[in-house]
Symmetry: C2
Subunit: 156 residues, 2 copies
DNA sequence: ACTAAAAAGATTGTGCACAATATACTTGTA
DNA sequence: TACAAGTATATTGTGCACAATCTTTTTAGT
C-alpha cells in the first residue's frame, strides 16, 4: 500500500493508481491548508497581518522576549523565513527586535504596545474561521490530532 | 466554540485560549503540509521536480492535452502560479505548451516522451512517502476525507 | 590565552501562492 | 457587423518556505 489511497475503477487507474491526484493524501492536505490560509486572508488583512505573521504574533503574545531560535522551534520555521518576516512585523510597529546583552548572537523579540492592542482585535478571528470551516468540533480535533501525529513522525 | 480547540490550564490560557498556537487546527494542518512537502523533496529532486510540479505532472500523465484552466481547477491553483510553473516544466523537457487552433486564447499542455519516461521513475515515490508517514492507512484515509470536506466547505 | 568547533542569525537565490491587473481573443446582442 | 461583455492566459508585485552559505559570537579543549 502507499500514501495514495486506491479506489480502482477504469483501466488507466488500474495501471498506476498511486500516481493519480485524487488518491494523494498529501495533495488533500496541501489544498486544504492553502484554502484555509486563503480564508484567513480577508480577516487578517483587516489587522494588516498575513497568516504566518498571525501565527508568529500568537507566539509573541504568549512569550514576549522570545529569541528567533525558540520562535522557529515553535513555528517549525527557520531563520530564512523568520528574519524577513520579523523585520516586516517590526516595520509595522507590532514588535521590536533587540540583541541579547548576555549573548550578542541572540535576537530577542518584544511585543510593543501596538502589538498588544492587536491581540484584542484578533480575538474574533478564531470563531469566524470555525464558522467558515463548517465542520463539527470533534472532527476538527481529530484532524488536528492526525496532523500532529504525522508531523511528529516526519520529524523523526 | 472556535476553530482553536481549548484545553484550558493556566491563567494565560484561560484569558484567550483561542489565540494560543497549540490550539490552532489550521497551524497543525499548515505545519503537517509543510513537513510532508519537505519529506517529498529528496525523492523528487532526484526526478528534477518540486512538489507542485509533481502534482502538475500527475494531472498531465492522466490528461495530456489539458488546458491551463482545467489544470487550475484540478489543482486548485490559478494562472499566476501555473504559467511560470508550466514554463519550468517545459524548459526541463517534460511537457510542451501549445496554443489551441479552435480558440487562440487557450494553452494546451502535452506530455513529451521524456515526460512519459518520468512517470515510471515516479512510481516508487508514493510508497516511500507512505513509509515515512508511519501512519496506518485507515488514519490517512480519514485525514484525507476530512481535508476534502474542509476544502469543499471553504470553497462554498 | 589560543584556536577549532559550534551556535545564532542573516543573506542569497529559487520556486511557489495569490491578488491585482493587463492583454488577446471570442461571443452575444443590438 | 460593430462592439460591449466575457473568457483564457499572462504579467507584476508581495510574502512566504527552504536550501545553502556566510558572519559574528561563544564555547571547549589545549
Amino acid at each position: 500500500m502507499s500514501l495514495s489511497t486506491t479506489t480502482a475503477c477504469n483501466q488507466s487507474e488500474a495501471e498506476t493508481p498511486q500516481l493519480l491526484l485524487k488518491n494523494q493524501v498529501c495533495f488533500s492536505l496541501y489544498s486544504a491548508s492553502n484554502a484555509l490560509i486563503r480564508s484567513y486572508r480577508p480577516l487578517l488583512s483587516a489587522l494588516d497581518l498575513t497568516y504566518p505573521q498571525y501565527l508568529t504574533m500568537m507566539v509573541i503574545w504568549e512569550k514576549s522576549g522570545i529569541n528567533v531560535k525558540d520562535l522557529g522551534h515553535d513555528l517549525h520555521l527557520d531563520s530564512g523565513t523568520l528574519t524577513p518576516l520579523l523585520k516586516r512585523l517590526e516595520a509595522k510597529g507590532f514588535i521590536t527586535r533587540e540583541r541579547s546583552d548576555e549573548d550578542e548572537r541572540v535576537r530577542l523579540v518584544f511585543l510593543t504596545t501596538q502589538g498588544q492592542q492587536l491581540k484584542s482585535q484578533a480575538e474574533s478571528v478564531p470563531e469566524a474561521i470555525f464558522c467558515k470551516s463548517q465542520l463539527p468540533m470533534t472532527e476538527l480535533q481529530q484532524l488536528k490530532a492526525s496532523c500532529e501525529k504525522l508531523l511528529a513522525n516526519l520529524k523523526k
